[in-house]
Symmetry: C2
Subunit: 422 residues, 2 copies
């Protein structure tokens, strides 16, 4: 009996899971490698960072998802390298996994534009640990302010700066402002949390550049209503544990969050392939790596320029579409059916929330804003979660937050290596 | 206007919260100091360690609980010392808090009977971090076993040892066994998780010594049905990251959990007071520290011998009763009403669960076991949680686990300082 064609997938994010899902019934065996044991619903990670959701509400053990697919093997491991001649993936714990077809869907991390020293003071938001780090720092800042005698230091503790005004930055700024102005007042005896400053800094000319100018302007106004100071057109030039320098001016701020740049995973290095400035592998129109028809690269770690010259954005729906496309290509190759045309990204719309009552949706022709958009946003996100358990749990947490104004997960956990506190 | 009598409470556990709750309306101002920002429902902590519940389901921000009691101030801080002459508490961040009456309710941590080096390999279960540490180690052991080539090492990875067979040890062993034998099978491709060994070691002659012999024997049988090996009458003599030595014999086991001894917090040292072997302050019949009528010590950090010579057990209901009693004493002193008699502990019964279908309840005269006891146990614990949000969330998680056999929170988070894995 001939051994089944072996597809090795590295990365259990949106692209990788869609691919494995769509390979169901194909004449393949699949090995799915991830360095984490869970798939993470990154679009809601900011809600863990801001105490609305619990970690387990937006993460699922990957192994569980493919329990009933006997041809799928899940491996917890970190890739050390790819041998494209021997056709095998080497894992850091020593195991070698041979492949017939390899799909790299390893995502991206945050980039500090050559200032890696900012990472310690301005954490990004990509993993559950990032989220609990930000949550801890935000909560501790209020606690430290409560016992701080010096007014200048107290003000710096009550100033929260978000760097980068894409959806994540906007969503973080909105919820932190709501927390300071609506959730926490009354709980402290010496500080007035309503005096907290939330500063959203964007180097570009406007926030949420993926949206229309009109929606972007609306989002700015809504953020300002929540008490967020929106600063556009000025880059951040320095970050320290005392504050942030925006252009020439220093803003004392003890809590910084980085929501600006991303840097692809080292997939390009593993392959010795050409990469763009963000480290993404420049793939062909069928998403294969250059000169490697047996290796696909998808999601945030691929740079895809479509026929019309437009790049594919680094967002979850794009990764999913790429996963589905590659499954179709692999299936076609094995069954001899004609190959699909080049990958084409279908934009389904952009969504972002501003606090807990407003959102904006840009479907191209149809644009929505306000509370109707917020409900659509909420329902869409619950729909995209995996499984009944999470859908109920998230719906319950949101309903609770909506009705009570309280957040469910206001926990300071783990020690901080940066600041061993007071 | 005379300044109100100032009660300073250190520790927001069961005893501290009961005290503050019961001081409502008394002519006092209260400062509640805790080094954590949350109250933790410790009796369910083992369910976080075993992936059934999420961290935020059993923890509440203390500050939130007293938001509407203007006379209560919450301080996040660690006590550095107590000056009993100046009557003030010094915090590690430098703040001094003067008191008229001081209540120390600072709990206990695990004790390794002079073998502190075991702490790194056999974590105890007292904090949320302890729970996520144990959760991570248990989950990673299965993952490592899946990729381990050497059979002896694989067997050691699939052997889980719980040291100490009080309620926590029994509950941990039961759920880990259920996870290995019922939740995980089918998810791994190379190992059979049903072959995992769960070993429960107890130095004393039987498990659950607080229960009747009959219920204790029943619990043993139920554990054995779940696949737990129960070893009584033999002490653990060594713990390493390779395994555990029980009496003279070495059991290769890569995951150890410590549920054996406790050691009181340093309250006795702060006061320079007499302590028992576990470090607990030997308090008088009214729970005051020796020669310090203005200082009360309650809960796990107090050693109380009642008039009939019986010690008060170190469990949540006892701490709550002590908190209520001290509130009554303080109130009486300030209003001139007669002092209550000496503290008397009323035992309301002992509860423990074995896995997800059986429990034992010892009300003294009435003894229950099996699934009825399990339902009573579950309803009682939901009742004791704080607030509608948690009650719903925990009820939902349990219902889900009960119906689906799946656990909600199977996440490996945070790196482990002990084992940087493979």
């Amino acid at each position: 009996m001939q051994e089944r064609h072996h597809v090795v997938v590295v990365g259990g994010g949106f692209g990788g899971l869609q691919l494995v899902n769509d390979l169901k019934g194909a004449p393949v065996k699949v090995t799915l490698i991830d360095r984490r044991n869970h798939h993470l619903f990154q679009p809601l990670l900011y809600q863990v960072a801001t105490t609305v959701l619990a970690t387990s509400e937006i993460a699922w053990p990957i192994r569980r998802l493919y329990r009933d697919r006997q041809e799928v093997t899940t491996v917890l491991g970190e890739v050390a390298g790819v041998d494209t001649i021997a056709k095998e993936v080497t894992l850091a714990h020593g195991q070698s996994v041979p492949y017939d077809t390899l799909v790299l869907a390893t995502g991206a991390t945050h980039a500090y534009f050559g200032h890696d020293e900012w990472a310690a003071v301005a954490p990004g938001l990509k993993t559950l640990e990032d989220a609990t780090t930000i949550r801890r720092r935000v909560l501790i800042a209020f606690e430290q302010a409560e016992v701080e005698e010096d007014p200048a230091r107290r003000d710096a503790l009550l100033t929260f700066t978000i760097i980068g005004a894409g959806p994540t930055g906007v969503e973080l700024a909105g919820i932190i402002a709501e927390m300071a102005h609506r959730t926490l007042p009354g709980e402290f005896r010496r500080i007035d949390t309503r005096l907290a400053r939330v500063v959203l800094v964007e180097a570009g000319p406007r926030i949420l550049p993926a949206f229309s100018e009109e929606l972007s302007a609306y989002a700015s106004r809504e953020l300002e209503k929540l008490g967020v100071e929106v600063l556009t057109g000025t880059p951040v030039t320095d970050c320290t544990d005392e504050g942030v320098t925006i252009g020439e001016s220093f803003v004392p701020s003890r809590t910084l969050v980085w929501a600006a740049g991303v840097q692809a995973s080292p997939a390009a290095r593993w392959l010795g392939a050409d990469a763009d400035r963000a480290g993404r592998v420049k793939v062909g129109p069928d998403l294969t790596a250059p000169h490697r028809p047996d290796i696909f690269v998808i999601g945030d770690t691929a740079s895809v320029i479509q026929e019309d010259g437009k790049p594919v954005p680094g967002i979850a729906p794009a990764a999913k579409q790429q996963g589905a496309y590659v499954a179709q290509v692999i299936r076609g190759r094995l069954t001899g059916s004609p190959a699909p045309g080049p990958f084409r990204y279908r934009h389904q719309g952009s969504l972002a929330t501003i606090g807990k009552r407003a959102a904006i949706i840009d479907f191209g022709r149809i644009k929505l804003r306000g509370s109707l958009a917020w409900w659509i946003w909420g329902i869409a996100h619950i729909y995209f979660l995996i499984g009944t358990r999470s859908r109920f749990a998230v719906a319950w947490s949101w309903l609770w937050t909506y009705l009570s104004g309280q957040h469910s997960a206001r926990l300071i956990t783990q020690k901080d290596t940066l600041r061993e506190e007071r």
